[in-house]
């Protein structure tokens, strides 16, 4: 049942799609991913259930946090070839623009990779990558 460890034993890296499908909450959010060089880009198609404020309408702040945190975790697994899921220690989310009812994207980079902990920066955008709607900084523990 240990997804990442099993893939490592089989001498392969898990495909991003395989990883996202194996994590129930990521599957529920409808996340898709692609790899661009060394970077993973996640895609979250809009769905009604993602809404926090029906009047605007705007995507829930918790969904924004979820996508950013997932981008950080998936990038960490991808870069470090982790055999266990990194554990979030703390995250800070800046909400920059309202999340509209359209497809969202997120990507992350490891600002620092230590032996035990990584420091990750993630961004989320919709139509224009240069106009992020939210950003995250966070620390994640790598399992030894």
């Amino acid at each position: 049942m240990e997804l990442l460890a099993r893939a490592a034993r089989e001498g392969r890296t898990l495909e991003i799609a395989e990883l996202l499908e194996a994590v129930p909450y990521c599957a529920w959010l409808g996340l898709k991913g692609r790899v661009d060089g060394d970077s993973v880009v996640l895609e979250m198609p809009f769905e009604q259930k993602l809404i926090g404020n029906p009047i605007l309408p705007a995507i829930h702040g918790g969904v924004i946090g979820s996508l950013l945190e997932t981008a950080a975790i998936v990038q960490t697994i991808w870069t470090t070839k982790a055999t266990r899921f990194p554990k979030p220690v703390d995250i800070t989310i800046d909400y920059l623009r309202s999340g509209r009812a359209v497809t969202s994207y997120a990507g992350a980079r490891l600002a620092r990779q230590g032996r035990r902990v990584v420091s990750v920066h993630a961004q989320m955008w919709q139509d224009d990558e240069n106009k992020p709607i939210a950003a995250l900084r966070g620390h994640f523990l790598l399992a030894e």
């Binding site: 240990e2 909450y25 529920w28 259930k49 926090g52 918790g62 979820s66």
Partner: protein, 151 residues
């Protein structure tokens, strides 16, 4: 702080409780009073973030903390008393989450939001998630901006 009429609070509970994401993840409002909210998130398999351990995804906890803080702030402001659409009047500026302990699978998570300080433009809030009252799963520190100032 200004008084909030019970009907306005009721409307706000409906609005916050009725937010599609909150409902979809299975969130429930347990209590609400001006400046404070208590919510419950029952465990379900689809909110799991680590398939190896069954631990709930951090993003779900972040979402509940954001929601609880937002509700505490909204009720404190009494913003909803004028129009049912007044939830528009606050927006989260930032949210800091400390994940102190992985949530146990198969158990409810409780989330408390508290409004700490209201200023003319900014409102500060704190949140806490726990399963056992004295064993914190996560804490939140949030700042909201009031976007619909009445002069």
């Amino acid at each position: 702080m200004s008084e909030i009429d019970p009907e306005a609070l009721q409307r706000m509970m409906m609005a916050q409780g009725g937010a599609p994401f909150f409902q979809a993840v299975g969130g429930q409002i347990v209590e609400s009073e001006p400046g404070r909210s208590l919510m419950r998130l029952p465990y379900s398999p689809f909110i799991v973030g680590n398939p190896d351990t069954g631990v709930v995804h951090g993003g779900v906890i972040t979402g509940m903390l954001d929601h609880a803080c937002g509700m505490a702030v909204g009720s404190q402001l009494g913003a909803l008393s004028a129009t049912p659409g007044a939830m528009r009047s606050i927006a989260t500026l930032d949210l800091r989450i400390d994940y102190m302990k992985a949530a146990k699978p198969d158990a409810d998570i409780f989330i408390v939001g508290e409004c700490v300080k209201v200023t003319r433009q900014i409102v500060f809030a704190r949140g806490r998630a726990y399963q056992d009252e004295d064993d914190t799963v996560a804490t939140a520190t949030a700042a909201f901006i009031i976007t619909d100032m009445k002069s």
